[in-house]
Amino acid sequence: MTDDHELRVSKIQNGTVIDHVAGGQALNVLAILGIDGTRGETVSVGMNVPSDRLGRKDIVKVEGRELSQSEVDVLSLIAPAASINIVRDYEVVEKNRVVRPDVVSGIISCPNRNCISNADEPIHARFTVLSDGVRCDYCDTIVREDEVAANLNVN
């Protein structure tokens, strides 16, 4: 972490800092994680913060909640460079990168309106993760990395 963003977004005591999110994706990160503030947690969002690595990056801080690796791995689809910092008593005690999962389910909708996953059937859309996108397990439609955010099945 650079000192730069520390000046802009206050430190948290306990919780999770998701850093190095691609600029403009912070709200999608929150949406994927199902964090909408209704549970009372303190959430800080920095958008388009200057970054050496990404030019501009977003940063998300969630107070009082430690996100598990499996919870955050799905972020790799929209924020592959993200790093996850678990903070306890103002100190980073764990620092992880997001790892691409093999399969994602229930998070992305299939953009093919004629796919059975968009019909009224008792299933969730499920995608196999490729190196540069995801592929619908039902109809084989490929969603490229830059199209994933537009097909998030959130809210």
Binding site: I116, A119, Y138, C139, I142
Partner: protein, 304 residues
């Protein structure tokens, strides 16, 4: 066959394909030997879309193996009209049958249905997705007429929505086949099929005109361009006319060229080709019986 179901041509290895084609050849040579092979077994036919030849050929194939069929009938008179999900329909029908054949207008329907049943399920067409049993009879026809290795094949017409095209192109990646795809720009192969062909390292070329590659082809597989794919009637007429063939078109073709079509055709193959040695589409349709008998035989007899 090591498959529980037949959903997509991408599930088929060369070994799987050859097992079906070899069995089909045995059946072709001696159909009487298979006449009671599956006596007492029942095949469930679930067609959520109109079908003539696929439905009839599965029906005939099962009966020629000594088995019987139950047919859910047209959608209009079934519980689907009452709002039943596909998942529920197949879970009910699997209790009536030893294997199911499913055709459905939605892509991925067969894949989903297979997750809800324990009996073998065969995809007989899912929207613009896949039609793998058609592919097996296509491959059988190609093997009989031109051979499956060192093959140069042209696949022409509606490559975007043509499920027989998708399945055939995927299956041919198991063989030493050079695939040429001929279509208008707007009906090129979909992204997922191009992705798989590229990943397989197959020799693939895309064209907008047949002339440039016709002389090099061993097989020309023609498909119908559907009017409803074009918003404008004039645009359809202009495009469709460029992908029709007649005896004159074939002047530059090899004498041994095999012409195939999954049928039904409208006007993409002129009737003046029907009496030439090139025309193989009726033989191809007839091959549906031994190939579907072979497929059912293998799926119904494997240890489950």
């Amino acid at each position: 066959m090591r498959q529980d179901h037949l959903i997509s041509a991408t599930d088929l290895s060369r070994e799987d394909i050859e097992a079906v084609l070899d069995r089909a050849a045995e059946i072709d040579a001696n159909p009487a030997a298979f006449r009671q092979q599956h006596a007492g077994k029942v095949l469930g036919l679930c067609f959520f879309e109109p079908s003539t030849r696929t439905r009839m050929s599965f029906d005939t194939a099962m009966k020629r193996l000594g088995g019987q069929t139950v047919d859910m009938g047209p959608v209009e008179s079934s519980s689907v009209k009452k709002g039943e999900t596909l998942a529920d329909t197949v879970r009910v029908v699997e209790g009536y049958a030893d294997s199911l054949v499913l055709r459905h207008p939605s892509e991925g329907a067969a894949k989903m249905a297979s997750e809800f049943v324990d009996v073998p399920l065969i995809n007989a067409g899912d929207g613009a997705g896949q039609h793998p049993s058609q592919t097996l009879l296509d491959l059988y026809t190609i093997r009989e007429n031109a051979g499956l290795d060192d093959l140069t094949i042209g696949i022409m017409g509606d490559l975007k929505y043509g499920r027989t095209v998708h399945s055939l192109a995927e299956a041919l990646t198991n063989f030493d086949a050079r695939q040429h795809f001929i279509s208008p720009e707007s009906l090129r192969l979909p992204r997922n099929v191009r992705y798989d062909l590229h990943a397989s390292g197959s020799q693939v070329k895309e064209h907008t005109e047949l002339d440039e590659i016709l002389p090099s082809l061993d097989v020309l597989y023609v498909t119908r361009i559907q009017r409803e794919r074009f918003p404008d009637e004039n645009e359809y007429l202009k495009v469709a006319g460029e992908y029709q063939i007649d005896a004159e078109t074939l002047e530059s073709a090899s004498d041994d060229l095999t012409i195939m079509h999954p049928l039904p055709r409208v006007d993409e193959i002129s009737s003046d080709i029907d009496d030439t040695d090139h025309a193989t589409y009726f033989e191809q349709a007839h091959n549906g019986i031994p190939v579907r008998m072979a497929l059912l035989d293998l799926l119904l007899t494997q240890d489950r």
